[in-house]
């Protein structure tokens, strides 16, 4: 399993934005679910993650919100979203 620089950056962003005090980048498995099971993120985190992505990468999530939240499934899908849609 190789971790790309972008994946690492996203891990740091998740940890800092959501203040995951005891999580290190190594704890986030790129294939493991970010929400509920796995890392244990919740609906408030989803909102904050959306905000952070806009601030940092200029990504505006689609209005078809359900489908764009699928990008939040795990770190790999999140990285793919940033890769394809980043403005900065």
């Amino acid at each position: 399993m190789t971790t790309t620089a972008l994946e690492h950056e996203l891990k740091q962003m998740i940890i800092e934005t959501l203040e995951l005090e005891d999580v290190t980048p190594d704890d986030i498995d790129p294939e493991e679910p970010l929400f509920v099971e796995g890392l244990g993120l919740d609906s408030i985190d989803a909102l904050e993650l959306g905000l952070a992505l806009q601030k940092r990468y200029g990504i505006t999530l689609e209005s078809e919100a359900e489908s764009s939240r699928q990008h939040f499934a795990n770190l790999k899908s999140l990285a793919a979203l940033v890769e394809s849609r980043r403005q900065k």
């Binding site: 005090e21 005891d22 408030i44 905000l51 806009q54 919100a65």
Partner: protein
């Protein structure tokens, strides 16, 4: 005003071609109106479904996220003269606690939002002369004891409240879009029952994300619809600035927020971005609506018409309200208020009920659930003002369960959160964990505010260790500490194992000694101090400190041990401040 009471069954005789709901656009499919006729077909379908479903009681437990199906089921149950039981959420423990309150209705997998292939086919509804039930809905909420508390609402209570809202803020045919659950009283009243009683259409889907809201607003603006937004603080305090709200928000008429007060700054931001002030409604499942405010006009709360507010010597709120079960009797509430000449201000609650992300939670219930988990000897939860408001847990584990390093700590937190997830929704689960040993208390034997602050000091100060307790040991003290994962002293190289530099331990030792021994002396060098192996982020360790003075020399004896062995051993030389200056 077009308000009609629920007691008069306003759902029956509306023109079939009227719009009851708005189906938002999705992909290439344009939006459309759902007619009363179509909705009646759903009511008929539910009536048939209920007829065919064996039920020995008169109760139906309804958990249905789809607003159209929910409202159709509600009416179908009422038309039978039966009672609706509304679970607050669909957590397994919530649902099993309500076992025996009737037959469960709603999709087995709520995230799908509908019955899928099982959905009963449309039928013409049957209207007969059966009277409406005495109790319209039974809601369940966490009581102050932590046990779920049943709250019965009669039609006249709901009607009093709906009439008040209709007269204060008429919907006037505008489109009602909701970001909150109708399984709770606020969503039930504002996003389902008000539209039904005031002939205003509601959206057929909840509007969960800001991006959806943005698209719907744009759509409304283009098509000349006016929108009323039923929201709450979690969504309103996280509106992305990157979305261009300005042209779209012209379609927005009013915003409502309830569940938990909105901060002044969040309220100002919403006002600025959406161009509409937020009407906050204050109330609870027990009391119904109590008061309202628009912060840009007045920060104090104004009682709703028909609601009288007073307070006792202890600041407890006293209420006389048409929304209560006994309308003409003053009743004491758990809320603490201060009356001002312009209304009242909220001071918090006298019990341990808090709101996390708009979700109501009894800390007593959380403490109890946590204390019952295997390996937990004692637990206390509290709120931290971090990222709005989040729960933290102070937990004393049985000695064999205490985590000693990062891996064990993560596993323990995961195990405990997973066990709690059967009882509570994810956002209210504790986010910050302190595994104390022994239970930390002050001189009065209490885990007081000062100790609570010390336990979470590392969140404020990235250079501080995670303090977990201390006890007298030999002629000094033994302090239990953890190396925070994101400690500023930890070398954060991308590759390789980050470690805590030894000098950080010396620094921490001096800090603890100043507090424990009321030390006034300064650091004067290291004496035979050895660092056999470094501490790693997440390591738990014992710091033993002894203050020695004699023969004109002053020193601090320091030992740090973890389950992996010794990390520091030796002495720190101290010098009297005045001596040094002379």
């Amino acid at each position: 005003m077009t308000f009609r009471r629920l007691g008069d069954r306003p759902w029956r005789d509306r023109p079939q071609a009227d719009a009851i709901a708005w189906v938002p656009p999705r992909g290439d499919t344009p939006s459309r109106w759902l007619t009363v006729g179509e909705w009646h077909g759903r009511i008929g379908a539910w009536q048939q479904w209920l007829l065919e479903t064996p039920n020995e009681s008169d109760g139906w437990r309804l958990f249905e996220p789809d607003p159209v199906e929910f409202s159709a089921a509600l009416v179908a149950i009422w038309e039978r003269g039966d009672r609706v039981v509304l679970p607050a959420d669909n957590q397994p423990k919530t649902l099993s606690a309500l076992h025996g309150t009737g037959v469960a209705l709603g999709p087995a997998e709520p995230m799908l939002g509908s019955y899928g292939s099982q959905s009963p086919p449309d039928r013409a509804p049957q209207w007969d002369s059966r009277p409406l039930p005495t109790v319209a809905v039974s809601l369940y909420t966490s009581g102050s004891s932590g046990e779920p508390q049943r709250l019965d609402k009669r039609f006249d209570q709901l009607d009093a409240e709906l009439a008040t809202q209709a007269s204060l803020w008429p919907l006037a045919g505008r489109l009602v879009v909701s970001q909150v659950s109708h399984q709770h009283i606020y969503g039930l009243l504002f996003s389902i029952l008000r539209p039904l009683c005031e002939n205003s259409p509601f959206a057929t889907q909840p509007c969960r994300y800001p991006e959806t809201l943005h698209t719907w607003l744009q759509h409304c603006r283009t098509n000349g619809h006016r929108m009323i937004l039923v929201s709450a603080s979690p969504a309103l305090s996280r509106l992305p600035e990157a979305l261009d709200w300005k042209p779209a928000s012209a379609a927005l008429e009013t915003i409502y927020s309830s569940g938990a007060p909105l901060s002044r700054s969040a309220s100002d931001l919403v006002h600025e971005r959406l161009g509409t002030p937020v009407h906050e409604v204050y109330g609870s499942s027990e009391t119904g609506g109590i008061a309202w405010r628009v912060q840009q006009r007045e920060s104090a709360w104004t009682a709703l018409p028909g609601v009288e507010v007073s307070h006792g010597d202890d600041n407890r709120l006293w209420l006389r309200s048409r929304h209560l079960e006994i309308p003409d009797q003053w009743q004491r509430q758990a809320d603490l208020i201060a009356l001002t000449d312009r209304g009242f201000e909220l001071l918090g609650r006298a019990d341990r009920i808090v709101k996390i992300g708009g979700k109501r939670i009894s800390l007593t219930a959380m403490d109890r659930a946590l204390s019952r988990l295997p390996g937990v000897e004692r637990a206390q939860t509290l709120t931290l003002q971090r990222r709005d408001l989040r729960l933290a847990a102070i937990v004393q584990l049985s000695p064999s369960e205490v985590p000693h390093d990062h891996r064990q700590h993560r596993d323990t937190v995961k195990r405990l959160r997973r066990a709690l997830a059967a009882h509570f929704e994810t956002p209210v689960l504790p986010r910050y964990w302190r595994f104390v040993a022994p239970w930390p208390t002050n001189a009065q034997g209490k885990l007081g505010a000062e100790i609570r602050q010390r336990l979470f000091l590392d969140l404020e100060d990235r250079r501080a260790p995670r303090w977990l307790g201390e006890r007298v040991h030999d002629s000094g003290w033994r302090v239990t500490l953890e190396v925070p994962e994101h400690c500023a002293y930890v070398d954060g190289h991308f590759d390789g194992q980050p470690v805590l530099p030894g000098i950080a331990l010396v620094h921490w030792a001096m800090q603890q000694a100043r507090r424990l021994f009321a030390l006034t002396s300064d650091f004067d060098g290291l004496e035979r101090l050895r660092f056999p192996q470094p501490l790693l982020p997440g390591d738990r360790f014992e710091m033993s400190l002894e203050h020695r003075r004699g023969d004109g020399a002053e020193s601090l004896r320091l030992e740090c041990d973890s389950w992996r062995g010794k990390h520091v051993s030796g002495r720190i030389a101290l010098v009297d401040r005045q001596e040094r200056e002379s």
